[in-house]
Symmetry: C2
Subunit: 237 residues, 2 copies
């Protein structure tokens, strides 16, 4: 095993073993490199790998710190994975989301705050306003869609579940779906489904929320499949 890999594992073990705790500052590069018996450049490569995993964080002029190590933070590298597979694998990611998101939505029903229920309503109102005006700015709709789902899932009570769901559909895939929603009828259906989920949450009815979320994602999956039939390659090069 290479020197860098060894250093990565050593630091990992220091964290798992509790020697380094969240928020704690690491020794300065020069000292840590000497302590591990490696050069400063090599240590930096190891640190850079752990930064990519969101395990460490550096601040120039200050030092290197262990992050909060919260699941939401550590799992958000997954979205890149989803983006890479926007082609053939998108359906597989969506399938997992179809399993998880209804459950998360049901869990959120008794937990979501009244304030956020109101915010959800606002998001829907704005989306419907945009849609009725025949807006072509899909970016706005994508953002509203993402906010809607995120806000619900945030209240599921399980940060790991929330983080996994959150990262299953990367921005690229999500944008592709909405871009493909040229049919105004499909757009109206999506908004109607969102409204139904909102109604169920307002009634604190977990079962209805679960079912509406499930059918909603089924609809999204169908849209994705149709998209693939229409244009096998989604790239516009």
């Amino acid at each position: 095993m290479g020197v860098v890999e060894t250093a990565i594992d050593t630091i990992k073990q220091m964290i798992i073993g509790g020697e380094l705790r969240p928020g704690q500052k690491l020794p300065v590069e020069k000292d840590l490199a000497e302590q591990l018996g490696i050069s400063r450049n090599t240590l930096r490569e190891a640190v850079r790998a752990l930064i990519a995993m969101r395990v460490l964080q550096t601040r120039q002029g200050d030092g290197t710190y262990v992050t909060s190590l919260s699941p939401g933070l550590l799992l958000d590298g997954m979205s890149f994975v989803a983006d890479v597979h926007q082609g053939g694998g998108a359906g597989e990611f969506m399938h997992v989301r179809r399993i998880l998101e209804p459950e998360g939505t049901a869990l959120a029903a008794p937990r979501i705050t009244d304030a956020d229920l109101g915010r959800l309503g606002d998001l829907l109102d704005e989306a419907e306003r945009l849609a009725s005006e025949g807006v072509v700015d899909h970016g706005k709709l994508v953002a509203l869609d993402q906010d809607f789902h995120s806000l619900i899932i945030f209240h599921c009570g399980n940060p790991v579940l929330a983080a996994v769901i959150e990262n299953l559909s990367g921005r690229t895939v999500r944008a592709r779906i909405w871009r493909g929603m040229t049919d105004p009828q499909a757009l109206r259906r999506t908004l109607r489904e969102h409204r139904a989920i909102h109604q169920a949450l307002l009634a604190r009815d977990a079962e209805r929320a679960r079912l509406h979320a499930a059918t909603h994602i089924l609809g999204v999956e169908d849209g994705l499949a149709a998209l693939r039939l229409a244009g096998p390659e989604g790239d516009i090069r």
Copy 2:
């Protein structure tokens, strides 16, 4: 944004954009560094970050290559996340697994090959043999347990689902559960549940498989909760 971060994003975009395809070789460090207008050391830090994400792979004396980018490969960094949270967050990971694994098991029922059904039986036989002999080697049992679940989930038909499930319970957590299974009755129950799942798969009965998998993981969750009551800190320092 720092120079290294820019370089990481550039390479990422080259992959998402299709300019770099799986298995393809990157330009040599010297050339690529020059092309990106950065030093070789800086480029190496960017490459190292992408290696940590399993996006790139280097072979000394040969070159740097884009990996297969398969979901299973890219998602296997998750297991480290699970390991870090062996303390408080383990239950949350197990909860997600409880949602996904029954579904994956049900999906596997009609797909798993007869050969692998036989292999599952062999695994169970060996586990029961070890248990009846009062073996204290938990490592063997952990490995058999992992093989059992992996072999089933492998046939769920969705590599993304399989990869996520596979990485939700890191080795550390799994080992902790089995180590905590000091009660011979609990061990027998676990084996009985495994056998029940196997029987359902043999009968190609997806619904029974789903239910048995769900109750099995519930049992594991209970064991984990009991473990936390017994000893809040699992570290033996």
